[in-house]
Structures are given as structure tokens and as C-alpha cells.
């Protein structure tokens, strides 16, 4: 074998592990019937007990996210109350598997079983979407509102509401509720998606959208959705009359 060819084989072999790493799925959670059933059977009562458990090296959920996931201690931590159970479960599994990177969260969930993760997800899903504090001076422009309900075809951005629901309440299968989310957490998350720092969104859906949005748009979207927290839900005719 010629020297040049041998060098080439060695080089390719050396790079192969990096290529495989790149080919790993963005998440190991597949929405099979079994996974659905697991999440569906999550026991909120057990979840409420897990929420308060802390060990020597791991904080309790309530320490950072507040009681019932409704009042995080800092606005860079997310609210969890009212979150879609399948979404919360997937995030916790992603932390456990390393698909989503956060040292504290990975340590927090590493000893929890899938049943316990489902219980926590069910507990938070049972809570109402919380009201969060937003600076009264913050405004949301008409152009940003168009992004919510009409999207922007020139940038191939679909309306936020088409996936996250008209009130940001989240939707099937694991599209998160974004109403009542802390502004800072929302903005940081979108930045992480844009930079690829967070990459557990299947098919890069949010990474593509986040890259297309301006910083100003992200800020205004965060404000808009934060203000939707604490509002009554339901899309029925009764609700329409009430509104």
C-alpha cells in the first residue's frame, strides 16, 4: 500500500468517531406506544413527593423552580407549572441521556427511574400555567404579533401559534407550553438554539427558527408569551362569551 493511501486511511479512521458523534440523534426519546403509556400513567401524587426531595449533592426541584414549578427563584430558571407532560418527560430523559446539557439537571435526574420522571411530568402538567412578572414598560410590536399568528414566509418562519397553540398552551405530542414562561429563560433558550448550544429539538425545528429571528423579535416574543401566563384556558364557546 502506498504511503499516501495509508495516511489517508489513518486520517479517515481518526475522524470517524467525530462523524459518528455528529450522527447521534438529537434525542433518544421516541414516542412509541410504550413511552406514551408510561407518560400517561405518571402518578402526580408521587411527582409531588419527588419535587421536595433533596440529597447532599442534589437540590430539590422546588429550590430552583419553586413550589409546584410556578415560582422559580431566579428568572433564568424556567417555570414548569402547566407544562405538557410529554415535553417535561422528554427533557428530563434528555438530561439523563446527555442529549440536553446541564450539569445540575443531569445530576438531579440521574438516579430517577423513568416512572419517577413520568410522575414528575404528570405533577407539573396538573398545575395551572402560572402568572409571571413582566416589566410594564416592555412592548410587543405588530410585526412580532404577525410572527405569532401568521409567521413570515420570506424567512420560512411558520406561525408560533401553529405548533404552540393560539394561547401558547403547548400541544401534542411534546410541543411545550410557552405561555407563563420567564422572559430571561425564554430568551436564553432561543439564543442557545440559535447557537446550537441546545440541540435536543428533533429535526432542528427550533434551531432553524431561532437562527432566523432577530434579537429584538426574541425579546418581544418572550414578553408576549410571559404575559399569557395566569389567564384562563379553554377554547369553547363558554370561554368566548366570558372573554
Amino acid at each position: 500500500m502506498k504511503m499516501k493511501t495509508r495516511k489517508l486511511i489513518i486520517l479517515v479512521s481518526a475522524l470517524l468517531p467525530f462523524g459518528l458523534a455528529q450522527a447521534a440523534p438529537s434525542s433518544n426519546v421516541a414516542w412509541t406506544v410504550e413511552t406514551h403509556s408510561l407518560v400517561k400513567k405518571g402518578d402526580p401524587k408521587i411527582g409531588s413527593e419527588i419535587e421536595t426531595v433533596e440529597t447532599e449533592d442534589v437540590n430539590a426541584c422546588i429550590d430552583c423552580h419553586g413550589e409546584r414549578g410556578a415560582e422559580p427563584d431566579r428568572d433564568k430558571h424556567p417555570t414548569l407549572a402547566g407544562q405538557i407532560a410529554a415535553y417535561t418527560f422528554k427533557q428530563l430523559r434528555d438530561y439523563k441521556d446527555g442529549s440536553r446539557e446541564n450539569r445540575k439537571m443531569s445530576e438531579a435526574v440521574e438516579r430517577l427511574t423513568d416512572e419517577q420522571l413520568a410522575a414528575l411530568a404528570a405533577w407539573y402538567a396538573d398545575q395551572p400555567i402560572p402568572k409571571v412578572e413582566v416589566d410594564e414598560d416592555e412592548t410587543v410590536s405588530e410585526d412580532t404579533m404577525k410572527l405569532v399568528f401568521r409567521g413570515d414566509k420570506t424567512r420560512l418562519i411558520q406561525p408560533c401559534a401553529s405548533c404552540h397553540g393560539p394561547r401558547g398552551e403547548g400541544a401534542i405530542i411534546d410541543v411545550p407550553a410557552i405561555a407563563g414562561q420567564n422572559v430571561k429563560y425564554f430568551v436564553n433558550t432561543m439564543k442557545d438554539y440559535a447557537k446550537g448550544k441546545r440541540a435536543n429539538d428533533v429535526y432542528s425545528r427550533m434551531r432553524i427558527i431561532a437562527k432566523s429571528l432577530t434579537r429584538e423579535e426574541i425579546n418581544e416574543l418572550a414578553v408576549y408569551y410571559a404575559r399569557l401566563g395566569g389567564q384562563p384556558g379553554g377554547g369553547g364557546l363558554f370561554q368566548a362569551f366570558a372573554n
Partner: protein, 539 residues
């Protein structure tokens, strides 16, 4: 009719028309929302909650309660005796009303926005499915009441011919038992246990097949009373006689036999059924047009006779000579006109190939509104005008207003549905709440959307006039006590008819065999093949 049954009939009819009025208001909101011309009222959630409620109220509540009420009137009036069991009829009313209220709660709170069809994996709250099932159970008791009323009358009147109106009503009851079995099985073995969380998956292909079993013949369940009124009330009120009693019986028998095993024209684009079975159902679908053609011919012949008796001359002079101040005559003529237009569209839907062009477009919704809202409902309204004085003992508040209302109904329905068909041909899909795209194609839709709003507004005014007329009639002084019905007599009243035209045993046997042929293998194959199943769309 018997006095004791009057309150039963009035109760059923008022539930029907209350549902009708609420549904009309929702309908106007829906065309306004979908047009995109009123951004301030746009709401996807509200739209789908509204469409679901509108469909359930019109398709299930108005129809079922009207058919039950009219059936009780027909039974007591034509057989000239009490119902087989009036207590059972009140139980049927209570179960159906309880089911309606039960289904209304999730509908109005946005927990059953699954349109008014039963297509998984869209999943509603279990109370919606249970409530809808109870409504059907109530109608089954009505079927029992109608069948037993006829059976006991025949037993007590051996050799006599069952009055035509009652023969048609019994045919409808039997047909409804056959056809509602499909959705009943879907509810009991799929949707209810699934929505209660007792099953993790179900086979949507099987669900769609079972629903198709019900989906077409339900239209004839709704249409039957309209045809009964055309055959047995209209000729008399027009001042003439029914052209042929036997022809009417043949039409009723054909509707009973043919309309059930043809549901696959709702599944032409579905992958779970084979082309051969779709072709078989297509042939049946074309065949079911025959009783409608018979009806058109017989009713028009009856009206022509009436027109000529009133002095009409020449080829079309009888039309002008008809009594255009009689609501039933106006409704009958307008219903037939809309039936011709809607029937033309129906032939396109029925065709396996042409259906591809209009599949899942607004053409389909335009079609069923024209046939149902036009032909069927206008006859319901005319029947109500006819029955009200007999039921209440009070004259109708205004016959002129009734005639105006029926004209407005037809004009509104045409202004609504013609552009609706056009939108379908221009490519607008159905089951959408808005069209937020900027393209020349969407711009072409705007004039049609605007016309539909005008049509919806005319229909709302018409419905308001109808309800007001009935309400005002209750305030009139009670002046007479009518106990007899105005039933049309045939030109040659039948002294006797062949046994199969006075009963249903033979026809039930034929339906059973045809159903096994049309639905046997299509259902069994889904049960024995390992279908992957699907998860609920609301997990």
C-alpha cells in the same frame, strides 16, 4: 291525532327547532371567521368548537328530535290510535335529551372540537361520545315504538294496507336501525373505551369503515320525513291527489334497501379498503339516485295534477296555477329545485374518478349544505307550519310570513352554497378555519367568501322569522281542536298491495345479505390483519 300525544310531539319539535336556531347563529359566525375579512373575531379554537357544535346540533339534534316528533304524529294520526307505548316514547325523549345535554358540555367548553364526525385519532372528551350514543339510544327506542305501532296495527287490521305515511316512517325506523349499528359499534368498542383511557391504541381504518356504514344512510334517515311529507301531505295541500301510492312505496323500499351498503364513497381516498369494494359501493351509490328520481317524478306529477285542477293550462301553466300562498307547496317546489341542483353535485361525489377532483375541498361542504339545509330542512320547516295548528289548536301567526321565510331560506341557501361549491373547485380545502396566505389564488376566493356571508345572514333572518312565527302562534287564541290529519289520497287508492309492499321481512333479508357482501370482508380483513394501530391525537 290523540290529544295525549300532542305534548310529546311538541316537546320533540321544540328541542329540534331550538337546536336549529342556535346552530344557524353559529353558522353565520363560521363563514365570517373563515373569510378572513373580520380579523377581530378570528379564533381557531372558537371556530372548531363552533363547527363541531353547529354540526352536532343540525345533523344529530334537529334531525333526530324532528324525526321522532313527526313520527309520533304520523303514527297516531294515520293509524288513528294511541301509540304502542307512550311511556316508552317519553323515555326515548328523556334519554335523547339527556344525551344531548351531556354532549353539549364538552362541546361548549372546547373539549370536543373534533368536528361532528367520529374520525380518530381526533379524540374528544368521553362525555361527548357517551352523550352522542345516548342520543342514538333514544332514537332506537323511537324505532321500536314505530315498528311496534305498525306491527300491532297490522295484527288488529289483517289484510288492510298500512297507510303510506306510516309505511314510510316504519321503513325509515328499520333503515335507521340497520345504519346506526355501524357508529354504535365504533362508539362502544372503539371511541368510548379509547377516550376513557382503557385502550392505548385503536385502528383508525376500522373506525372509518364503521363510520362509513352509518355516514351515508344517515342522510336518508334525515331525508325520509321530507319525502314522506312530499308524498303524503303536499298533494292534498296543493289541492290534488298523490299520483301513485305504489310508486311511493317502491321508493321507500329502495331507500331502505340501497342506502345502507354504499358508504365507501366516503372512503374513496382511504388506503385500508380495496378498489373493488369501492367500485361495488359506487354502483350502489348511483342506484340510490333511482328512488330520488322516482320521488321527483311522482311528486311533480301530483303537483301537476293539482295545478291543472286549479285551472292551469299548457305545458307549464300548472306551475303558475299552484297555490303559492300555501307554505307546503312553496317548500315542496323549492325543495325539489334544490334537490336537482344538489343531486347533480352528488353524482360527481359518487363517481370514483370525479370524486378525486373535489375530495376534501369546500365543494363537499357546499354539497351537503345544499341537500340537507336546502331540500331536507325546508321540508321540516313546512311540516312544522302544517302541524302547529293541529298540535296547539291555534292558527299559525302568519302564513304570509311563513311563505316569505321559505323563499328567504331558499335564496339564502343558494347564495351560501353556490359560491361554496365554486370555492371547492378553486381549490379551497375543507376543515380549515382561515386562509392566511398571500397568493393570487387566495385573492380569488374573497368574493365567494363575501357572498357566503350574505347567504348566511339571509338564512339567519329566515330562521328568526320561522321561530318567531311558531312562538307567536302559541300566543294566539285557541280556536279549534283538530284531531284528524290532512293526508293525501292517491289517484287510485290501493285496496290491496302485494305482501312485500305492506311489510319489510323480504327487504330486511336482502339488506342483510347485501351488508355481508359489502362490509363483510372489508371489516374482517381489518380484524385479522395485524394493523399497526394509532395513538390518540390528544395524548
Amino acid at each position: 291525532m290523540h290529544d295525549k300525544s300532542k305534548s310529546l310531539v311538541v316537546a320533540n319539535l321544540w328541542v329540534a327547532f331550538a337546536a336549529f336556531f342556535v346552530a344557524i347563529i353559529l353558522g353565520l359566525y363560521q363563514v365570517m371567521n373563515r373569510s378572513g375579512l373580520f380579523p377581530e373575531i378570528e379564533s381557531h379554537e372558537l371556530y372548531f368548537a363552533s363547527v363541531s357544535t353547529h354540526g352536532v346540533l343540525m345533523g344529530f339534534v334537529l334531525t333526530t328530535f324532528f324525526i321522532m316528533g313527526f313520527g309520533y304524529y304520523t303514527a297516531t294520526s294515520t293509524l288513528k290510535r294511541e301509540l304502542w307505548s307512550r311511556g316508552l316514547a317519553w323515555v326515548a325523549f328523556s334519554i335523547a335529551l339527556g344525551g344531548t345535554v351531556m354532549a353539549a358540555i364538552p362541546l361548549l367548553t372546547g373539549k370536543a372540537s373534533v368536528l361532528y364526525t367520529f374520525y380518530p385519532p381526533l379524540m374528544a372528551h368521553p362525555t361527548f361520545y357517551i352523550g352522542a350514543t345516548l342520543l342514538v339510544v333514544g332514537s332506537w327506542l323511537w324505532c321500536l315504538e314505530m315498528i311496534m305501532s305498525t306491527v300491532t296495527w297490522k295484527r288488529d287490521n289483517p289484510g288492510k294496507v298500512v297507510p303510506l305515511a306510516m309505511y314510510g316512517t316504519t321503513a325509515n325506523a328499520i333503515m335507521w336501525l340497520w345504519t346506526s349499528a355501524g357508529v354504535g359499534i365504533e362508539m362502544l368498542f372503539q371511541l368510548i373505551p379509547w377516550s376513557l383511557g382503557l385502550m392505548d391504541t385503536l385502528d383508525p381504518g376500522l373506525a372509518r369503515t364503521l363510520f362509513s356504514w352509518t355516514l351515508h344512510a344517515i342522510v336518508y334517515f334525515w331525508l325520509f320525513p321530507a319525502y314522506i311529507a312530499m308524498y303524503t301531505i303536499l298533494p292534498k295541500l296543493a289541492g290534488g291527489r298523490l299520483f301513485s301510492d305504489e310508486m311511493a312505496r317502491i321508493a321507500f323500499i329502495m331507500l331502505l334497501v340501497i342506502s345502507v351498503p354504499i358508504g365507501f364513497h366516503h372512503l374513496y381516498m382511504d388506503p385500508q379498503q380495496a378498489a373493488g369494494f369501492k367500485f361495488l359501493h359506487m354502483l350502489g351509490t348511483f342506484a340510490v339516485a333511482v328512488p330520488t328520481l322516482l320521488t321527483g317524478f311522482t311528486v311533480l306529477a301530483s303537483l301537476e295534477g293539482a295545478g291543472r285542477l286549479r285551472g292551469g293550462k299548457g305545458l307549464f301553466g300548472w306551475i303558475g296555477a299552484l297555490d303559492w300562498k300555501e307554505p307546503m307547496v312553496v317548500a315542496g317546489m323549492l325543495a325539489l329545485f334544490m334537490l336537482i341542483a344538489g343531486g347533480f353535485g352528488g353524482m360527481i361525489n359518487a363517481s370514483y374518478m370525479m370524486n378525486t377532483m373535489v375530495h376534501n375541498t369546500q365543494w363537499v361542504t357546499g354539497h351537503f349544505h345544499l341537500i340537507f339545509g336546502g331540500t331536507t330542512v325546508i321540508m321540516y320547516l313546512a311540516v312544522a307550519y302544517h302541524l302547529w295548528p293541529k298540535l296547539t289548536g291555534r292558527p299559525l301567526a302568519s302564513r304570509a310570513m311563513a311563505v316569505l321565510q321559505l323563499w328567504l331560506w331558499t335564496i339564502g341557501m343558494l347564495v351560501l352554497t353556490m359560491p361554496w361549491h365554486a370555492l371547492g373547485l378553486l381549490g379551497q380545502p375543507r376543515r380549515i378555519s382561515s386562509t392566511p396566505y398571500d397568493s393570487p389564488l387566495v385573492a380569488q376566493w374573497d368574493p365567494h367568501e363575501l357572498a357566503m356571508i350574505v347567504g348566511g345572514a339571509i338564512l339567519l333572518v329566515s330562521a328568526l322569522l320561522f321561530v318567531l312565527n311558531l312562538l307567536m302562534s302559541h300566543l294566539k287564541k285557541r280556536i279549534y281542536d283538530v284531531t284528524h290529519g290532512d293526508w293525501a289520497v292517491a289517484v287510485y287508492p290501493p285496496m290491496s298491495v302485494p305482501k312485500p309492499m305492506n311489510g319489510f321481512a323480504l327487504w330486511n333479508g336482502i339488506v342483510a345479505v347485501w351488508m355481508v357482501v359489502a362490509y363483510g370482508i372489508p371489516i374482517v380483513q381489518l380484524l385479522i390483519l395485524d394493523a399497526p394501530g394509532s395513538m390518540p391525537w390528544g395524548y
